[in-house]
């Protein structure tokens, strides 16, 4: 078989498509990506979806699949990392990471963020805001979005004066300026774990390995993801 099916978190769409193209050129093996919400993909894999590789946006759903023996436990590894940043519409002023700074920036608007209960970016964001002592203040001022990209779009257009998004998203969107980076220690390390599914086809391990290759890591970096030499 010279075709792989990769189920991957939607937030990785452009990086993985670039990597997939590079992999195809290198190996001749075609890679099909199904991008969707991590939770949907995880459940599909649990239900027996014909995926060879799963790339998750967080570790909860990877753990979920590991517990259900839907992925090969020993194949799980983080392939990229990410950071969190506050962005505002292009031209926004840098921001102090305290209640005063946030409230100045928000004015009467809301803080766009990926949903803090359902979307990984939102969960990380909530953790970070909590540890920074900002949660109590912003909790009532949130605009939780269906995914990070909608939050980003909101800030791009100025519908919200501020959005909390992945560094990767911010780096490729010219319509926003990063107004503050959240310190890495304010939240759990953001990792994208990948794994082979239980019935992964031959060659899937090659792709999984390729994701950690220098070429792939360079693409991740270009897309604003953190490289992970340190993290594993």
């Amino acid at each position: 078989q010279d075709r792989l099916t990769v189920f991957a978190a939607a937030s990785l769409t452009n990086a993985l498509e670039a990597i997939g193209t590079a992999f195809e050129e290198e190996t001749g093996m075609q890679v099909l990506f199904s991008f969707a919400g991590t939770s949907a993909l995880a459940r599909q894999i649990e239900a027996g979806a014909p995926a060879d590789v799963f790339v998750s946006a967080d570790e909860i759903w990877m753990d979920y699949l590991r517990e259900r023996q839907a992925v090969v436990p020993e194949s799980i590894k983080a392939i990229a990392g990410n950071g969190l940043v506050f962005v505002g519409p292009a031209g926004s002023e840098p921001l102090d990471l305290d209640v005063g700074g946030i409230s100045d920036a928000l004015g009467r608007g809301r803080l766009a963020i990926a949903d803090t209960e359902t979307v990984p970016a939102g969960r990380y964001g909530k953790a970070a805001l909590t540890s920074l002592g900002l949660w109590a203040y912003v909790q009532k001022r949130l605009a939780p979005m269906e995914n990070v990209r909608v939050a980003l779009a909101a800030a791009t257009r100025g519908d919200t004066p501020l959005a909390l998004v992945y560094a990767s998203d911010a780096s490729v969107e010219p319509g926003v300026d990063v107004v503050a980076k959240l310190p890495a220690e304010s939240h759990q390390a953001i990792r994208y774990p990948a794994a082979l599914t239980q019935h992964a086809a031959e060659g899937a391990d090659a792709f999984l390995a390729y994701l950690s290759s220098a070429a792939a890591q360079r693409i991740f970096e270009e897309s604003g993801f953190a490289m992970l030499q340190d993290s594993q």
């Binding site: 759903w61 766009a112 909608v150 779009a153």
Partner: protein, 235 residues
């Protein structure tokens, strides 16, 4: 039956959902009646375009519709800015926005049966009304509209069900704010997004099903009354 004792945030979502559903119907139905009548009874250059615009929210993925709503009605969107400045109305991130999203998504579903019903009204009865001196508007109100009621009821039911279930456009347009825009559907979605959410999702599904069941039941009874009212045959 403790599991059917609703928790406060479930109450909140349920109340919000009903409010959104009711608002959707209240605003969308009169508009849908107007549009349906126009589509059914008049031929004019913009007919096809109007028809297409009405159906568009059905054709596009809800997320796209929500996004377009955001572009237009968001705090920085042209319509949003206009409404804010002239009437002080804002659909951004509040329940009225949820109702707007639900209304737009439900609109084609409401318009279609109503249009069908108007098309089925015998124009001869409208002629008879005219010959008795009734103006167009009066004829519409006392003849065409009552005779189209079964279609309006059908449209209302589809619309209410859709408003209850609407998710993609709502979450994209007004986000998923508990107590403000988190309807049952959004709460349900939220629950499915975490592995531990399944029992919650199950409860919410049951709640949604009960509400829908109630609404459908009520509509069937109304439909039967209506049928008698419209004189299919006497009591």
């Amino acid at each position: 039956m403790d599991q059917f004792h609703l928790q406060p945030h479930e109450w909140e979502a349920l109340a919000l959902t009903l409010r959104v559903g009711a608002a959707t119907l209240a605003v969308a139905i009169p508009l849908a009646i107007a549009v349906a009548y126009i589509l059914a009874r008049f031929r004019f250059p913009g007919h096809g375009t109007l028809n297409a615009v009405v159906h568009m929210p059905l054709v596009l993925p809800p997320v796209v519709t929500g996004y377009l709503l955001l572009l237009a009605f968001g705090p920085k969107g042209p319509v949003g800015v206009f409404l804010q400045n002239t009437f002080g109305i804002s659909f951004a991130f509040n329940w009225t926005g949820a109702a707007l999203a639900a209304g737009i998504m439900a609109f084609p579903l409401i318009v279609r049966p109503i249009r069908l019903a108007f098309e089925a009204v015998d124009p001869k009865l409208e002629e008879a009304a005219a010959s008795l001196g009734a103006r167009k508007l009066v004829t519409f109100v006392v003849i065409s509209l009552p005779l189209a009621l079964p279609g309006i009821l059908s449209g209302a039911i589809l619309g209410f069900a859709k408003a209850m279930g609407e998710f993609g456009a709502t979450i994209t347009f007004v986000s998923n704010i508990p107590g403000e825009t988190r309807t049952l559907a959004l709460a349900l979605y939220t629950a499915t997004q975490t592995p531990e959410g399944d029992p919650i999702a199950f409860r919410l599904t049951i709640i949604a099903a009960i509400v829908a069941f109630g609404a459908l039941f009520a509509s069937e009874i109304m439909a039967r009354r209506l049928k008698r009212r419209l004189g299919a045959s006497d009591a």
